[in-house]
């Protein structure tokens, strides 16, 4: 039987579509109204709320918590101070990414982890010999992402603490009688927060947030709108841009952090003394420049895209709902296949068709022309596109 999240009693009423997907075994709204585009606009213009409760949640506590995590995670968690959070991946010995997650450091000895996949067994096995206890608290908290330019104003009416939260900071707060933790994080690439609330208080906190947001155009948004925002934000999605190396059959299905565009996570690892799983392989990859792929933003040439459709007698489709398949990319001169777009969409705020692209590294320099395969009238066509630096949408307010 599929589970529901702590916010479900309210979301079930708000969801007018009857459309739910199953996310980690929980009901998760695809959209609340018939057009997810308007939910997307709430995130970009006002404020939207997204129920991200199905994420797996863990407490990682103990005197050795930092030392333990520093030896597992690819990114140097020691630089994450209490009250701050860090997005990181962890890899296998081959330097391939197992998974990703966000680590919220609460104190010197306490971390809270949210991740897309269950990890208790893996982490616990590694923790043998460390003074560290890992606890799965997935069902004990609801997590509500409150995202958009008005998110701060809406939340500040309930929890003034948010006013001073810097990007990736988090703090304890009270909403009504509920003790919550609010972080300046999210998956939309916009100004935004996530509110962690004990499951029993979730409905009350949800009501309070919806009330506080009423004058700010608040509305719930579902998975479709979230996927639009994450592409604009250049954020990776497990099972789209990568899968866990542990579950792969071939190395073709595996990716290194560098290949996923996470090279920034690796700063300093070639010189510092931190040993972590996969370090040697990653160092070798960096030194020998053996990365097979690079990730980049992709912007389709609007004129060429228009032309191809006009020549076929069609109205140019501009659908913001991301395509769920891989669109091949080609060298504009040789016609060789050089990679693929992991996802494509029409971006309403950028007024272009955009995507995330996985390309052979020599094509990844921003501004490189490539051809992207699209389907017009049941036939493959190649449209001009250009690589572009991520994130494609990056408003100042996100970090300001």
């Amino acid at each position: 039987m599929v589970k529901t999240t702590p916010f479900h009693p309210r979301l079930a009423t708000l969801n007018r579509t009857g459309l739910w997907s199953h996310w980690s075994g929980h009901l998760s709204a695809q959209k609340y109204d018939m057009s997810s585009k308007h939910e997307y606009f709430a995130v970009r213009n006002g404020v939207g709320v997204f129920d991200t409760s199905p994420l797996f949640k863990y407490w990682i506590r103990g005197r050795d918590a930092e030392r333990f995590l520093a030896g597992v995670l690819t990114r140097d968690i020691r630089k994450c101070r209490p009250g701050h959070a860090q997005y990181s991946v962890w890899c296998d010995d081959g330097g391939y990414v197992l998974e990703d997650g966000v680590f919220f450091r609460h104190s010197d000895t306490e971390y809270f982890l949210t991740a897309a996949r269950p990890n208790l067994g893996y982490l616990s096995d590694l923790a043998v010999g460390y003074d560290v206890a890992i606890e799965d608290v997935t069902d004990e908290y609801g997590v509500l992402a409150v995202q958009g330019p008005r998110s701060r104003a809406a939340l500040a009416a309930l929890a003034p603490e948010v006013e001073s939260l810097a990007y990736f900071d988090h703090a304890a707060a009270k909403i009504g009688s509920a003790a919550v933790r609010i972080s300046r994080t999210g998956y939309t690439g916009d100004l935004g927060f996530e509110v962690f609330v004990p499951a029993d208080d979730a409905v009350d906190v949800f009501d309070a947030i919806m009330d506080a947001g009423r004058g700010h155009g608040i509305r719930p948004f579902g998975e479709e709108a979230l996927l639009m925002t994450r592409i604009e934000a250049g954020l990776l999605l497990i099972d789209v841009e990568f899968g866990s190396s542990r579950l792969a059959y071939t190395d073709q299905e595996r990716f290194t952090p560098k290949e996923l565009g996470l090279g920034w996570m690796l700063r300093g690892i070639d010189t510092d003394d931190r040993a972590f799983i996969g370090r040697d392989a990653i160092r070798r990859e960096l030194a020998e420049k053996t990365s097979r792929w690079a990730m980049t933003g992709l912007v389709v040439d609007w004129r060429d895209y228009d032309r191809l459709h006009a020549e076929a007698g069609l109205i140019t489709p501009k659908d913001p709902i991301p395509l769920p398949w891989e669109s091949m990319l080609y060298d504009v001169d040789s016609g060789d296949q050089i990679g693929y777009a992991t996802t494509l969409m029409y971006s309403p705020v950028l007024q272009r068709h955009i995507g995330l692209a996985r390309l052979q590294p020599q094509y990844a320099r921003s501004g490189t022309d490539v051809h992207v395969e699209i389907t017009i009238d049941h036939a493959y066509q190649r449209a001009l596109a250009r690589t572009a630096r991520q994130p494609l949408f990056n408003p100042e307010r996100k970090t300001a």
Binding site: M34, S35, H38, F41, R44, G215, G217, R303, K318, Q351
Partner: protein, 545 residues
């Protein structure tokens, strides 16, 4: 005192077309000056904080026709371009029922079935047929009409292009096109639909800004024009620009400046200066003279031809045509600052109906009767109202929990038979408000402030003659080859170096921006031709976008 400054081009008027034109010229490397009479750019596309915290779209209030190529050419996204698609269209009925259409076609079909099971598939057919017609017409919005009377090979080629374009069109689509261009909305819609509310809602797009009723021949053209826009690839869809249409024109102004154009505010132009049939610059009202070999008027045809230049410099036939070019504005606005959202009794607990247009025009008969008043020289006793509460989806427009409601009103004829607008303005606004009250009980209690914009106000404030929002009526004899006059539809004027780029030129108004763009292409082509014959000329063209 007179001071002289040298520019490559001076654009008179900082409305959206003047800004678009100036941006393209500056992008091509011309030293461009845009002169605006008022203290802000935007012309009739402005947003003003007329009541603390409430941002009014005083005149123009929505976007659809704006050419997507302009957004791309001028890199407007970089400068803040952000259109927000309207999630719904709401049409209240006099019996308390309503038609509420949204973005989901299947849901719309069910909503229409509530009113007429017959009309459900008719609506799909109608939308598709309109799209087919729009597909034919849209390419014509991208370029100047061919000069039917021109004698150059270029003229012949352009005409041949048009003929071949039309030759490829299926008979049904071409026939629909002609029915729309010449016929009435009522006839056209009656062929598809039986539901009064659906017809009233659709027919409303056939009267906006124009002195026709839905039963008038010619209203079909107005419907077609309003259907030629798109929002993100969806034809006929409308959106708000973030911060109102003034937000949009600010974006274009920033783009123009980024390309190097200079914008001068509070600089009304008195006259275009000429010497032996050539434009040499402009004279401002304060006596300043500014020189440039190119002067572009973004004003309407009356002011472009009859006020900025000496009409004796123009051919008599052109003066005659411009003199009889019809304006006869019939639209007004009443904008409200509201203490909260209006309550529609049948949807008491909902607000999603207010995301887009609120269309008070429940039947074609309602619209036609509203027109009848105007036909005989008075404003409608029960007017058509196109309401829009942008603050519902753009919270920056009003303080939290409060709202701004833009109300476009028809009919409000510029020429009142037995009265004048300065006397009638409050009574007129009361008529509008009581009409709203009849659909939204308690509406009056919500009103914190109201702004009344009569056709006379439009003329006085923006300068659009007789308050016509399109800078000249959308009548067939005033469109395409004939906009604004036969022989002068290619943005040139009889004065060498003097061009027109306002909505009084092809394709027309409605914040489409195409006149500004196409005029810039004409200017740049002419300059290239001139440079080719006079190699010493110093224009440095990088080519137009």
């Amino acid at each position: 005192m007179t001071q002289s400054t040298e520019y490559d081009a001076i654009v008179v008027g900082g409305g959206h077309n003047g800004l678009v034109n100036g941006a393209y010229l500056a992008k091509a490397g011309l030293r461009t000056l845009i002169l605006e009479r008022r203290h802000l750019v935007g012309g009739a596309a402005i947003t003003e904080e007329l009541y603390p915290g409430f941002h009014f779209t005083t005149f123009s209030y929505a976007l659809s026709l704006l050419r997507p190529d302009i957004v791309q050419d001028l890199d407007l996204v970089k400068h803040g371009f952000l259109p927000i698609e309207m999630p719904s269209s709401f049409a209240p009925m006099e019996n308390g029922d309503y038609l509420l259409l949204g973005s989901d076609e299947d849901e719309n079909v069910q909503e229409i079935r509530r009113h007429s099971k017959h009309d459900a598939d008719a609506y799909e057919r109608y939308e598709h047929d309109m799209s087919r017609v729009v597909q034919v017409v849209r390419p014509l919005l991208e370029k100047a009409p061919p000069d039917l009377w021109g004698k150059t090979p270029e003229d012949a080629a352009e005409l041949a292009d048009l003929v071949s374009h039309l030759k490829g069109v299926e008979p049904k689509v071409l026939h629909d096109l002609v029915r729309l261009l010449t016929g009435s909305v009522a006839d056209f819609l009656d062929d598809y639909f039986e539901s009064d509310i659906l017809k009233g809602y659709l027919a409303s797009s056939g009267i906006i800004g124009t002195k026709v009723g839905p039963m008038s021949q010619g209203s079909g053209l107005v419907l077609l024009y309003h259907s030629m826009g798109e929002h993100d690839g969806s034809y006929g869809t409308w959106g708000f620009h973030k911060g109102g249409n003034g937000g949009f024109t600010q974006v274009v102004a920033r783009a123009a400046q980024a390309y190097g154009a200079e914008i001068r505010l509070e600089s009304p132009v008195e006259a275009v200066l000429t010497n032996e049939g050539r434009a040499t610059g402009v004279a401002l009202a304060d006596g300043t003279e500014l020189s440039a070999p190119i002067v572009v008027s973004a004003l309407d045809p009356r002011r472009t031809f009859l006020e900025l230049v000496d009409r004796r410099e123009l051919p008599g036939e052109l003066v005659e045509n411009i003199t009889r070019f019809r304006y006869q504005g019939t639209s007004a606005k009443v904008n409200f600052a509201l203490d909260g959202l209006p309550v529609y009794p049948a949807l008491r607990d909902r607000i999603d109906q207010y995301g887009g247009f609120v269309n008070i025009g429940p039947t074609m008969e309602y619209l036609e009767r509203a027109y009848d008043d105007a036909k005989y020289g008075w404003y409608s006793s029960r007017p058509y109202i196109d309401g829009a509460i942008q603050s519902v989806i753009d919270p920056d427009m009003a303080p939290p929990g409060k709202h701004v409601m833009s109300c476009f009103i028809q009919y409000a004829p510029y020429h009142l038979k037995d009265g004048d607008w300065d006397t009638e303005r409050d009574k007129f606004a009361d008529t509008v408000q009581s009409t709203l009250e009849s659909f939204f009980p308690g509406f009056g209690d919500l009103v914190l402030h109201r702004e009344i914009v009569t056709p006379l106000d439009i003329e006085r404030t923006v300068g659009l003659s007789e308050g016509n929002i399109f800078a000249g009526e959308f009548f067939a004899p005033q469109m395409y080859f004939f906009r604004p006059a036969p022989g002068w539809s290619q943005y040139r004027t009889p004065i060498d170096g003097y061009y027109q780029c306002g909505s009084g030129t092809h394709p027309g108004g409605c914040v489409i921006g195409a006149p500004g763009k196409i005029a810039s292409q004409r200017i740049l082509r002419d300059l290239k031709a001139r440079d080719a014959t006079a190699p010493t000329a110093r224009t440095n063209l990088e080519g137009s976008g």
